[in-house]
Symmetry: C2
Subunit: 287 residues, 2 copies
């Protein structure tokens, strides 16, 4: 069972209440209604690593996140800007059950902050659907929050996996190759294209393993494993600083953080780490 952080705990998002002002108002006035506490786009965590909440203050526009522990939870849509990369300290503390709620809130608050105007006609837009969209009264267009699908994949050849590093990684860190799915591509097409573009290897079999929402700012990470036909690499140095093949023993040593391991493993909240663990556990053979 592969269970990457930020996914795996779906909650009732109360979709029907988004387009029903009466239901929305009733939820807002419930005594157990709560507002997720955020500092900009970062969560304000309790000492136990749990998300914290406060009484609903409807001075700012609110988004309805859904039911959490049977209580309606909202997020404030005050404009908030933050660096696109997460605070590692916060990710280390944040619990797995709370992570999906935070992920939804962060992506949504951030999307509103960056989409106040109509991309079609340039005029200001207004929040609709309980925070899950914006409407332009100028040209009538509705806009909805973005989720960008990204493929992230281990290439495999004769019992070794291909890992790469980007220049901004910490020293020694290697991870799975990845790239955005483009218009006109299936998941498998994007995996094959990215492996060819970034490392010059040709995939012969591609298998989906697991997925993860990644709220920095709003990606859907789609984890795959691909068998490729040869070892020779042609690295695209505009994308990757380096890439290399690693054996099972090397991957195991890295995941166990052994001294002398051939690379520094991806952190616990990255799906690349889950993919490596699944590969070690025997998910390398396509069915």
């Amino acid at each position: 069972m592969i269970a990457p952080m930020f996914g795996g705990h779906w909650f009732d998002r109360l979709d029907a209440a988004r387009s029903d002002l009466g239901q929305f108002a009733a939820l807002l006035s419930r005594p157990d209604a709560r507002l997720l506490r955020l500092d900009g786009l970062d969560p304000l965590l309790g000492a136990d690593g749990r998300l914290t909440f406060e009484a609903v203050d409807d001075a700012a526009p609110l988004a309805l996140l859904g039911l959490v522990d049977d209580a309606p939870v909202f997020a404030s849509l005050r404009p908030a800007f933050a660096p696109p990369r997460p605070s590692y300290r916060l990710l280390e503390q944040l619990g797995r059950t709370d992570a999906p709620i935070y992920a939804a809130a962060r992506s949504l608050v951030d999307w509103h902050s960056r989409h106040a105007f109509c991309a079609r006609c340039g005029r200001p837009t207004a929040i609709i659907r309980a925070g899950w969209g914006r409407h332009c009264s100028g040209c009538g267009t509705d806009h909805f929050p973005r989720v960008d699908p990204v493929v992230i994949m281990l290439a495999e050849h004769e019992g070794e996996v291909l890992l790469g590093r980007q220049p901004q990684y910490p020293p020694g860190r290697y991870s799975a190759l990845a790239g955005f799915v483009e218009p006109g591509e299936s998941i498998e097409d994007a995996v094959a294209r990215e492996l060819f573009e970034e490392a010059g290897v040709r995939a012969t079999e591609i298998r989906y393993l697991a997925s993860q929402p990644w709220p920095f700012p709003s990606s859907l990470m789609i984890g795959c494993i691909a068998v490729v036909e040869h070892r020779a690499l042609t690295i695209d140095h505009t994308e990757l600083e380096d890439a290399f093949w690693v054996s099972r023993d090397g991957v195991r040593a890295a995941l166990d953080a052994e001294p002398g391991a051939p690379f520094l493993a991806p952190p616990l909240w990255a799906i690349a780490r889950d993919l490596l663990e699944a590969w070690l556990a025997g998910c390398d053979a396509p069915p």
Copy 2:
């Protein structure tokens, strides 16, 4: 092997040339450079169902689609608007090898038509990266084409599958349930939430089967199968007109278009049909 239309034939998109004006100009001046012929957003097909091309006319801004049969192919980014639904007559004629090129072009031309302004500050934006983005010189934001992930799934219970119909479907048509992946969800979370929201069923196991780019306007259809824990349905009539359980024999009769089949099957270009065929072929048992 599940091979939905619009995917399965990835082509070299010449990513490196998108950010290299010299490479872009060299491709544009090649004698074999070609422009995809479109009528608005519809393809102009030859008598053989193939896409047709013409000499490159760089009076309009161009997007570099990539290498097709070793020749650089471009699309004109003249604003073009069309209904979001495809012309079925064209989809019946369009060949599978050409479909991914058309899908990329259609989604890209349409995205530019609907994104001339900066969503962050409202000012006009300009085309960058050989047609694969827009830049706002007002606030400095880069914008990239959207791909919206959608889950589409067969729910299974004791050898039957759950199908639903939306009011706008042709008479008798039933298909797989579907919905957009939202911020903060994995693929599996979205499948479970949609099945619960639309039909009141709880998924216990979810398995990915196949994916498909869907250029109307720009979705990534992610096909799954979910085992659910009971048959009783609570249908959300704002989303579905009806939903029902169908046996193997019923699905087979519908796919074969037999008289008396319990429903009209999805068309050949819909991944829902591929999912039904895979299910009949025995993909129903999670590994």
